[in-house]
């Protein structure tokens, strides 16, 4: 084994990101590390690159070519030990040529003062030839394909022949995430080429297909523990998926304590008419195309909780934005409550039509951190609260009660001071108190503590019972099985499967399978 890591535990306040995990990586083999979000794979990469550190008392040992260290103290030491990483974010300057980007990283060759541009070009050409990358050193990096960019990033991490001999392990940290599927094969052939140079390659990826097609060994992490480590040839996709899903999620079945008032009471105070129960679909799209979406057709009825899943490239990231009017529709029909939405949508128009979206990136699109909780919650509908301090107070008290926002009486506190869970509950309050017809939730439990999760699920069920149609996108798909009555699976921008509770296809394993492959 070229590199082994033993007894690695990493504890963050409240979570054990890695729990006495052991790893071994062999020369010349591509080793995939798999796991759902939060399973510890990025923590592992950060431990190996000296960014995070193993707990002091866990007896961690990292052995690299017979040399054993307790801990890798800094990225610099990691580099000196021969650990090379390609990160997900591109290391290229978009307005520079390929040659100059490489020079920027490797240091410009100079004659003391002036850059020797010939040497810059030659070195770049040498790297490009060595790794069989078929682009000219003069090309602007802005004009490269995603695969080429990643291959150049890899070449930069490895260096020329002499430098690559110092390399003990190459870590690809979701480096393939930005490559479209059609180009991945080319990229992976290059990864194989690096492995054939006798270098262990550690690949963190979310693409099951690549793992099955190209890797030699697989390690599966689940909740910070290694649940499988061994040859790929012994296992198949179903096995991998079954190991990746969290087997227990007590938060889903738990019911939050009944709040003293309900969302329907709040609507009455605010003079909102509750939606009537209706068998007609309240939202439907037909042959919808947009960025990464190639013809989506589905509909949702009032009171239904519909789940949507898929791997990150499948279009699940884009669909909620399209539904919320934040991303342009290219073609197709989008109908809300019998009225066709216009082509040039804005979030405002969607809100007016009764479609609210809880976005996935809380600090960017979810809430304004420098405004108070009260300002955030009442933002969509400020007009109604103009000069009515009594109504503001009543609404805030009820929202905080219904969604259990802690601490109480904090409506003047800055939004940024709340924990992730409380922020998310407040954003739910913000959108639900306007009584939408459709509520789209994009990853509502991301970075949310278990207690808040229970409250969020309860609130979703409550709102659904009050005839709000819910569409839930989640990166933790295991949750959807207990929550939704119907789940759509996306792949390559199309709906490829519909899992229904009524015909027995809706279970954890099948949901997880569509998410991870």
């Amino acid at each position: 084994m070229a590199i082994t890591a033993k007894n690695i535990s990493v504890t963050f306040p409240g979570v054990k990101a890695l729990d006495s995990a052991n790893f071994g990586f062999c020369e010349g083999r591509i080793h995939a590390v798999l796991g759902a979000n939060g399973s510890g794979k990025s923590t592992l990469v950060k431990v190996l690159t000296g960014i995070y550190h193993a707990d002091r008392d866990c007896g961690a040992e990292i052995t690299i070519d017979g040399q054993t260290v307790r801990d890798i103290v800094s990225p610099k030491q990691a580099h000196d030990l021969g650990i090379r990483v390609v990160h997900q974010e591109s290391p290229l300057i978009f307005s520079f040529s390929v040659a100059e980007c490489i020079a920027l990283f490797k240091g410009y060759p100079t004659n003391g003062i002036k850059v020797k541009w010939d040497a810059v070009r030659q070195y770049a050409q040498k790297l490009l030839t060595l790794y069989h990358i078929n682009v000219s050193p003069e090309t602007l990096t802005d004009n490269l394909s995603a695969a080429d960019r990643n291959m150049i990033a890899m070449a930069m991490a490895m260096g020329d022949e002499e430098e690559s001999r110092q390399t003990r392990i190459l870590i690809l940290d979701e480096a393939d995430a930005s490559i479209p599927e059609a180009e991945t094969e080319e990229f992976l052939a290059h990864v194989r080429h690096v492995a054939d140079m006798g270098i262990p390659v550690l690949m963190v990826t979310h693409r099951m297909k690549e793992v099955i097609g190209y890797c030699d060994d697989v390690t599966i992490l689940n909740g910070g523990r290694v649940v499988y480590s061994g040859l790929k040839s012994n296992i198949n996709e179903d096995f991998i998926v079954s190991r990746m899903i969290r087997q227990t999620d007590e938060t889903l079945s738990a019911k939050a304590e009944q709040a003293s008032c309900r969302i329907t009471d709040l609507w009455r105070v605010l003079g909102r008419q509750q939606n009537g129960a209706n068998e007609r679909p309240v939202l439907s799209v037909e042959e919808l195309t947009a960025k990464n979406l190639n013809g989506i057709t589905f509909s949702v009825r009032s009171g239904e909780i519909l789940g949507v899943i898929g791997n990150p490239d499948s279009g699940v990231r884009e669909l909620p934005m399209v539904l919320g009017g934040d991303m342009p529709i290219q073609s197709g029909r989008y109908v809300v409550d019998g009225r066709e939405m216009e082509r040039r949508l804005t979030p405002r128009k969607c809100y007016q039509a009764g479609v609210n979206v809880l976005p996935c990136d809380r600090p960017v699109r979810g809430g304004i951190m420098s405004c108070t909780l009260c300002e955030n919650v009442l933002m969509p509908n400020q007009k109604q609260f103009w000069n009515k301090p009594g109504l503001v107070k009543k609404t805030m008290n009820m929202s905080m009660e219904i969604f259990d926002i802690q601490p109480r009486n904090s409506s003047a506190t800055l939004f940024g001071k709340f924990s992730g869970g409380n922020q998310q509950k407040a954003i739910m309050a913000k959108w639900l108190c306007t009584c939408p017809k459709v509520f789209v939730l994009d990853d509502p439990t991301y970075g949310v503590d278990p207690a808040s999760r229970i409250r969020i699920f309860t609130a979703m069920r409550e709102a659904a019972a009050a005839n709000v149609a819910m569409i839930v996108f989640s990166t933790e798909p295991e949750q959807l099985a207990g929550l939704c009555s119907r789940v759509l699976a996306l792949h390559s921008g199309r709906i490829v499967a519909e899992l229904k509770e009524s015909d027995g296809t809706l279970d954890r394993n099948s949901i997880a399978k569509w998410c991870y492959t």
């Binding site: 990160h87 974010e89 307005s95 003062i113 802005d142």
Partner: protein, 314 residues
């Protein structure tokens, strides 16, 4: 065809300049005499030096509102030192050193306190303006020596202003710095993506502070040129040169290397603005034409470079 288009876009600013020269040359033949051109340039030199300062700021993707105040304070400082009767070398060197120091301070605050450069330089700039008012006492200060400063900023050799020659020579140096020296290239990298530059192991903090310091230096140099030419300073002189100077730097993105700030482009833009505005004066246009000319030129060139540049213009 595409190649032809690219070539045209590279030299489009030169073509516009040529058109301006031809049009005003036809209207008034003495417009194009070397001495007249030199005189027109001499009038715009303070702003032209200030534009060099703006290059470093915009290349590293910052903004510096204090440059105009810096230029003004340098004028006042030089004149004040002269009224105290200090040696000529001191009168010239102290404003230069202080000007660089103000820039360095800007950079330091921006980098260390992680405050947007817009705010920091606004604060520092207003402070500098206050200092200038203290020094001048609200009135005018007069600079009568060093004689060589007055000579260099006002006189010509072979009909060409000496400080124009110095300006061009400094342009060559800056161009060399930005295109041929690692630090200059790294400045471009920092301006494009500080994160990527940081990940590449570049000391981005130092590079940014250097950019502010160099900008401060050139602002002070512009101040010396102006005080040398006018022979007097007050706390209101030169402050309004700031935005036109930046306009010239932005204009350079439309020439020679579309999409990138480049020194030949800055020199051409300075020529275009000076000849264009003076030409309009020549045919008797009102003052507002001057400003409108600059504004329209900037809009047009940005549109042009956005269309022809290989990279996306931000």
């Amino acid at each position: 065809m595409a190649r032809f288009k690219a070539t045209v876009s590279k030299f489009s600013l030169l073509l516009v300049l040529a058109a301006v020269v031809v049009i005003f040359g036809c209207i008034s033949p003495q417009f194009l005499s070397i001495s007249n051109i030199s005189n027109m340039f001499l009038g715009g030199m303070a702003s032209a030096f200030l534009a060099y300062g703006g290059i470093f700021i915009l290349v590293s993707n910052e903004f510096d509102l204090s440059l105009g105040y810096n230029l003004c304070l340098s004028m006042c400082t030089a004149a004040w030192l002269a009224t105290l009767g200090l040696p000529g070398v001191v009168v010239v060197l102290v404003p230069l050193i202080l000007g660089t120091a103000y820039g360095w301070l800007n950079g330091l605050i921006v980098v260390k306190c992680k405050i947007s450069s817009f705010i920091v330089t606004l604060a520092v700039g207003l402070t500098l303006s206050g200092i200038a008012q203290v020094i001048t006492g609200g009135g005018n200060l007069y600079l009568t020596y060093p004689a060589w400063l007055l000579y260099v900023t006002r006189k010509s050799v072979f009909n060409i202003g000496i400080c124009i020659l110095i300006w061009l020579a400094l342009g060559v140096l800056i161009d060399f710095f930005l295109t041929q020296i690692p630090v200059g290239r790294q400045m471009f990298a920092v301006g494009n993506s500080e994160r990527v530059a940081y990940m590449a192991g570049i000391k981005t903090a130092r590079i940014r502070i250097l950019a502010f310091s160099l900008a401060g230096f050139f602002a002070a140099l512009g101040g010396l040129v102006m005080v040398g030419q006018l022979g007097s300073a007050s706390s209101s002189y030169g402050v309004s040169l700031l935005l036109p100077a930046y306009a010239v730097v932005f204009l350079s993105k439309a020439a020679f290397k579309p999409g990138y700030i480049n020194v030949p482009g800055v020199i051409t833009s300075v020529a275009l603005i000076i000849l264009g505005t003076r030409g309009l004066e020549l045919i008797g246009s009102p003052t507002w034409c001057e400003y409108m000319f600059q504004g329209v030129a900037l809009m047009f060139s940005m549109w042009l470079s956005a269309r022809t540049s290989p990279i996306e213009i931000k």
